[in-house]
């Protein structure tokens, strides 16, 4: 109890103090507050992971009823992830925001929103009262909206921010719908009422309720087709906000789905199939669109959709396991999903921070302009490279471990003997393998064009490596990435309590958990051996080639000795073959200007990739809606008199309709009597 009171007091006092101090202190206070909140909440979270759940009961008010704060192992796991990313984000952000020092008021708002966002995220993980939960969710949505629109003088930023705000509220609308349904029937705002509601009604009702929540939460998480806000919001926000948004804010959607799975005990098999298929589609669609992007941050944003897909595949697999009563599937599926949630928050935030470094060094995110940054920014290059390998799910880093768990679960699922299950699992294997391959294509493109080769564009200023202040939080992420990659056993053991929550969901299963730690520690070992072997070979090579002649010369240009930068392969040309293949699936707008004549002047080609789902699901309905409302445009004629008239008409209608209704009713009654 004391901790929660301290939590609230610290947040409030920080918010009050921040507007009145100088710019340097704003950052300092934010980082300090974030650190204190993180320490306090991590303490409870670690206890929950160790098996000691915390429960506090607030009296609340007449409206809300009692507000229970329950922190179990699942909340604990997510709180730890939130805290780590917010901490690195705050540290990185403090340095990143130095470029905007002159905007004092804007910075105050940014700092306050940052603190509010972290605390609301933690509250979402721990509050178990419907109304309090929704309020925390709303604070989270609003504060992240303010964080996104930091550069609100730019039109794109504002548009993206408003897009985010609207979609966030659609998400809240669905959640409210679900909560109202439960509250109406059960007359309680406690989350436990949801469990009671689901168990006292038919399985189908449970599935329907879950689907309502699933749609709500998947708007936040960014499952296809609810992902359209994501590729706009990520590129326009400051780098640390993109990192946090991709790392933890969208993960809160995953938390919501997992929480609802724990609360709503219904037909898990159906739910599992639905989640699995949506996830496969999200994964493949996300990465397919990522490849053809021209903006580095947008590319990373689409990769978030892909990784949400991978996490979802784990959840879907676990649900199928629950439905089938298969212990191994539950364990591998949910372990894969939870670990990938951590992993993705690590490498994605690292990638966004690195893109922030690139952005501040070059002031562009255009992949076709960037190039050869490896020599000027060696440390950023190194960090981006490691994160890129990790996100592709390749050993020896963390992405591989969680993808391995899901793969292993899928292959274990093949031991079943149900045609539907077998074919959906083969779809899963196909999807995951394809996602892996496409991610490789995408990140070799991103890394290769941004950091390798020669610069493609003459910037007016010299590009320099980012300062140590920015690099330190990035290295912190790197250390965790390698730790998960090399010693995954620790994390699997840490996950055992959250996993037990899911295993205990089905009472029919004997609760003896299957040891997956053996295989997992083998993974770590193999990755270690791989690293050592590489090192050994490299040292051997260095020894042998050190006493041979080594010369430096220009790159082989087919005999041509005066190559220019323009002859280099660009990001667009790297994926041209792929684009040609996948073109029917996307809507890519092309602008081509052929070179003609004996002395050709200019020529060029532009491609603008656009999201087909967005076209159908957002743009087309909006277009229809606009057309419909345009018919009533005559009402808005600018005359004050008319507007007053509308008011009068409205009041008359409000008063008149009920009395008219009563009159008609009595008339019908009268007629009936006759």
């Amino acid at each position: 109890m004391a901790i929660i009171t301290a939590f609230i007091i610290i947040i409030l006092s920080a918010i009050v103090v921040i507007p009145f101090v100088s710019v340097q202190w704003k950052g300092m206070i934010t980082v300090a507050t974030v650190t204190i909140i993180a320490t306090l909440s991590s303490f409870i979270a670690l206890r929950a992971l160790a098996g000691v759940d915390s429960e506090y009961l607030f009296k609340g008010s007449l409206v809300t009823g009692k507000i229970p704060v329950r922190i179990d192992a699942l909340s604990g796991w997510f709180i730890l992830i939130i805290n780590f990313t917010c901490l690195t984000g705050a540290l990185y952000g403090m340095q990143y925001m130095k470029a905007y020092r002159s905007q004092k008021d804007n910075l105050s708002l940014h700092c306050i929103s940052f603190i509010l966002m972290q605390s609301s995220l933690i509250s979402i993980c721990s509050l178990q009262n419907t109304i309090a939960f929704l309020i925390a969710w709303e604070i989270m949505a609003l504060s992240s909206f303010i964080l996104i629109i930091f550069e609100h003088h730019k039109r794109d930023t504002l548009n993206a921010g408003i897009n985010f705000l609207i979609q966030s509220h659609i998400c809240i609308m669905f959640m409210t719908l679900g909560f109202i349904w439960v509250a109406l029937k059960m007359n309680s705002y406690d989350f436990q009422a949801i469990t009671l509601f689901a168990s006292s009604n038919s399985l189908l009702t449970g599935v329907a309720l879950f689907l309502i929540f699933f749609i709500g939460f998947s708007i936040k998480a960014g499952f296809v087709p609810f992902h359209t806000w994501l590729p706009y919001a990520h590129p326009v926000s400051p780098a640390h906000i993109s990192g946090i948004m991709s790392g933890v804010i969208i993960k809160i959607g995953i938390y919501g789905i997992l929480r609802m799975l724990l609360l709503i005990k219904s037909d898990y098999l159906v739910i599992g199939y639905i989640i699995l298929f949506i996830s496969i589609i999200s994964g493949i669609y996300g990465v397919m669109l990522a490849i053809i992007q021209h903006n580095l941050k947008r590319l990373l944003a689409y990769h978030s959709i892909e990784n949400i897909g991978i996490i979802g595949m784990g959840i879907g697999l676990g649900c199928i396991g629950l439905g089938k009563g298969n212990n191994i599937l539950i364990e591998l599926g949910f372990a894969g999903a939870l670990l990938h949630t951590l992993n993705h928050s690590l490498f994605k935030s690292l990638l966004f921070y690195a893109s922030g470094n690139v952005h501040q060094a070059t002031h562009t995110m255009d992949l076709d302009k960037l190039g050869g940054l490896g020599k000027q920014m060696p440390q950023t290059t190194f960090l981006f490279l490691i994160a890129a390998i990790a996100i592709c799910g390749l050993p020896p880093f963390n992405g591989f471990v969680s993808e391995f768990l899901i793969y292993n679960g899928l292959f274990k699922g093949l031991e079943g003997s149900d045609k539907t299950m077998l074919s959906s699992i083969v779809c899963g294997i196909f999807g995951l393998a394809l996602i892996g391959g496409l991610a490789l294509l995408c990140f070799t493109k991103a890394f290769g064009t941004v950091f390798l080769g020669t610069p493609r564009h003459n910037f007016q200023y010299t590009t320099r490596e980012a300062g140590l202040g920015k690099l330190i939080p990035m290295y912190a992420g790197l250390i965790l990435i390698t730790t998960v990659g090399l010693f995954p056993k620790i994390f699997i053991i840490a996950l055992s309590k959250p996993l037990n929550l899911f295993i205990h969901l089905d009472n029919n299963i004997n609760t003896v958990s299957v040891p997956i730690t053996g295989t997992i520690s083998m993974i770590g070992l193999c990755s270690g051996v791989f690293l050592c072997l590489t090192g050994l070979i490299f040292i051997l090579r260095k020894r042998i080639s050190s006493n041979r002649t080594q010369t430096v010369d220009i790159t082989w240009g087919c005999g041509y000795t005066a190559p220019t930068v323009k002859m280099q392969y660009t990001a667009s040309s790297f994926v041209r073959t792929y684009r040609k293949l996948a073109e029917p699936l996307f809507s890519i707008r092309k602008n081509k200007k052929e070179i003609t004549g004996v002395f050709p002047k200019t020529g060029g080609q532009e491609t603008h990739p656009y999201d087909k789902v967005e076209e159908w699901l957002i743009d087309y309905p909006l277009h229809l809606l606009k057309r419909f409302f345009n018919r009533f445009i005559f009402l808005q004629n600018g005359n004050l008199q008319f507007y007053i008239l509308y008011g009068v008409v409205f009041i008359l209608l409000v008063l008149g309709i009920p009395s008219l209704f009563d009159y008609v009713k009595s008339l019908i009654k009268f007629l009936n009597q006759i």
Binding site: C392, Y407, N408, L422, A433, L440, R548, T551, W556, S573
Partner: protein
């Protein structure tokens, strides 16, 4: 352990046999079967030239590529005998560690900033991306058939009984041979003998490598061939005793090498822009195997 040693032995003469076959079919005598390995040894002794634009990535990539293939070989079993590394789901590690090697070979090609490097890199990334699902579905079918999820357990308990399973074996061999061809950039996907950079895939990626690095990459290619040959051999070795399985192993490796030689002598390469579709079609062959396995298990009855 035994598979590791045997694969290394096989790698010494593998590409020699391919070249010899190609020479004989084109009416030449051709070099001895140890000539490629002698070339590699000579390369390992040479000095090297580095491009001005390249960075440390270019220097470290060949080592990582080589290490990744050595790691992958460690996973390969020998019939019922385990590889050096063996655990549940080890073929996922096998495919992923090869992926790491590929990642580095691709970015090292981009590191030179050449107008050709990216061309090969782009093609290699695309082709191997499409080959990946085929491999995983193939392994999935096997694990469905045998109920195991590690290379050694799968191969040890794999035995062909009915007519359908013979067809499955043939299809699996076909898929593995094609994956080998894709992964090693050979005909009909890629022509290693082409002299025009525009039509190269793998060769153009390593244009700027020289000396020790080039030697390592060339030897890695030989190892890769022998590794996939060993995988194919494993399909047929089952749980035979060692004195039987060893000749089978070498026999299949030699037959495989000769087959590749014949393939390269008598087929033309595919059109570059049709390659991707062709490779993706491999996945459907894999799916066919999966359906066949369902048939064997009586899922459709």
């Amino acid at each position: 352990m035994i598979s590791f040693i045997l694969i290394i032995l096989a790698s010494i003469f593998f590409s020699g046999i391919i070249i010899r076959t190609k020479s004989i079919t084109s009416g030449r005598k051709g070099p001895g079967i140890f000539q490629p390995i002698k070339d590699i040894i000579r390369l390992l002794r040479k000095g090297s030239v580095y491009s001005k634009t390249s960075s440390i990535i270019f220097q470290i990539a060949p080592s990582i590529y080589f290490a990744s293939i050595v790691m992958a070989i460690m996973v390969i079993p020998f019939g019922q005998y385990k590889g050096i590394i063996s655990f549940e789901g080890d073929f996922v590690f096998f495919a992923s560690v090869l992926g790491t090697g590929k990642f580095f070979s691709i970015i090292s090609a981009l590191d030179t900033g050449s107008s050709f490097g990216g061309m090969g890199a782009s093609r290699e990334a695309l082709f191997s991306m499409f080959a990946e699902p085929a491999f995983f579905i193939l392994m999935g079918s096997f694990s469905l058939l045998t109920g195991h999820t590690s290379f050694q357990q799968i191969f040890a308990s794999l035995h062909f009984g009915s007519y359908i399973s013979y067809i499955l074996g043939a299809l699996a061999t076909f898929v593995l041979v094609m994956i080998t061809v894709v992964e090693n950039s050979r005909m009909p996907i890629d022509d290693p003998n082409t002299h025009l950079e525009l039509t190269m895939v793998h060769e153009v990626m390593i244009l700027d490598n020289s000396g020790f690095d080039l030697g390592m990459i060339s030897y890695a290619t030989n190892l890769k061939f022998a590794m996939y040959g060993a995988l194919i051999a494993n399909l047929f070795m089952g749980s035979f005793p060692l004195y039987l399985s060893m000749p089978i192993f070498f026999g299949i490796q030699i037959i495989f090498a000769i087959a590749v030689g014949f393939l390269e002598s008598f087929t033309a390469r595919f059109r570059m822009n049709h390659n991707a579709q062709y490779i993706l079609a491999l996945s459907s062959v894999s799916l066919l195997i999966f359906l066949g396995v369902l048939l064997v298990l009586g899922q459709f009855s």
